[in-house]
């Protein structure tokens, strides 16, 4: 199977260094403290944030900071064939842990001791890059909820097929057997928050693929930033606060 054509086009017509179309929607759920839908091409993920509130399990109380609880699940209709997944699914548990570790580094937990922040991520449509879209949706929901964050962490995946580094793999490219490098970056601080790789990749090409993923993260973070500012501006206008100067 050919993943990059001789003209340099991928299966969906993108160039190797092109991201899929990104769409962000904020405050989509009224009962959550913050919520967001993040779309990357056909991958669509919904995130809801509840908190900070009192810790539900007394044994989990932390004096130094907030406890972040994260749950990742995929809707039965999200993949090509409808498949009902249980909550204890191995992949879901692993991804919940990965997303939780990423968010714990982005949230300033030391400002909210003895409290708990719940993050629920639900994949509505899966077409490759679900863990990255889940992290992006969770960060948007946290920012919309007003939880203090160190930076707008963004995640992006990159791979290497047909001797070309490819940015933002979709499902067919992901299933192609090549490496899948998922990276989350804090762009203003220029710090890697998550680096996770599937399959194998020679060390010489790793640097190029990592750098490509980091570039993707920076671009996605600026798109998320634009969406957050636009949404806040529209809210301020609706409440009649536009034009009020500090």
């Amino acid at each position: 199977m050919e993943y990059v054509s001789p003209e340099g086009l991928r299966l969906d017509g993108r160039r190797p260094r092109e991201l899929r179309r990104i769409n962000c929607q904020l405050d989509v759920l009224s009962n959550a403290d913050g919520s967001a839908i993040f779309e990357m091409g056909n991958t669509k993920v919904l995130a809801a944030v509840f908190g900070p509130h009192a810790v539900t399990r007394r044994s989990d109380v932390r004096e130094e900071g907030a406890v972040v609880v994260c749950e990742y699940s995929m809707a039965a209709f999200s993949t090509g064939e409808r498949r009902r997944r249980g909550k204890g699914d191995r992949r879901s548990t692993e991804l919940s842990l990965v997303i939780r570790n990423t968010l714990e580094q982005a949230i300033m937990t030391e400002l909210l001791p003895r409290s708990q922040i719940d993050v629920y991520v639900q994949v509505l449509q899966a077409d490759g890059g679900t863990r990255c879209a889940a992290i992006n949706a969770a960060v948007l929901a946290l920012a919309a909820a007003g939880v203090p964050l160190r930076d707008l962490v963004a995640a992006c995946a990159a791979g290497h097929l047909d001797a070309t580094p490819l940015l933002d793999l979709n499902y067919s490219e992901d299933a192609g057997g090549g490496p899948d490098l998922a990276v989350a970056l804090a762009p203003r601080l220029d710090q890697l928050v998550l680096v996770q790789m599937d399959n194998r990749l020679p060390v010489d090409t790793f640097q190029a693929v990592l750098e490509l993923a980091r570039e993707g993260c920076r671009t996605i973070s600026s798109v998320m930033r634009g969406a957050l500012l636009e949404h806040t501006r529209r809210l301020a206008l609706a409440r009649g606060m536009a034009g009020s100067s500090a």
Binding site: D33, P52, A143, G146, R150, L229, T232, A246
Partner: protein
Amino acid sequence: MAAEPGTALVCPGDRLGTTDAFCPGEGVYVRDGFLLAAVVGRQRLEAPAEQGGRPVLHVAGRGGAPLVPKPGDVVTVKISRVGQTACQALIMCVGRQALSTEFKGVIRQQDVRSTEIDKVVMYDCFRPGDIVRAEVVSLGDARSYYLSTAKNELGVVYARSAAAGAPMLPASWVTMQCPETQTVEKRKVARLAVVAGQA
């Protein structure tokens, strides 16, 4: 990075200024000598606290910052259970801001008042359902915050009488009276400041 911040909207991670020019306020944190925003919101500049100090830079997120009670905060609580040595309460407001979720607090016998603390009868100070103004003493144990009413301005601010269920009026710092049945009930009453000009 302009010297004057303006009122632009900022996102978490945005650089707002340097620590030589500004002091960090709410919604702002410091890293490597720079001030960075922590929430989505508008920048706000506040005059320096002391003479010759640096102005304080805040970022006001919408809906206010997530609020968690800290030691020293004056909170408004509702009594849920009264025991022999302590009574349990639900913290509903911190200062003037209502909380979206309730935190659990406890008022121990020795924290009810400042005099004769071993002779306190809890049932004569609080009843379930009373609204009490208290101060957070410490983060407490795993279950609840430790609260104290050992000041004149702390104590019961609203209570309904057992006889008629009408809101009672304070009669002294230990009694409240029901306006309908004239019965007097014992409570540890808060002395609220009288505003000049009001009857």
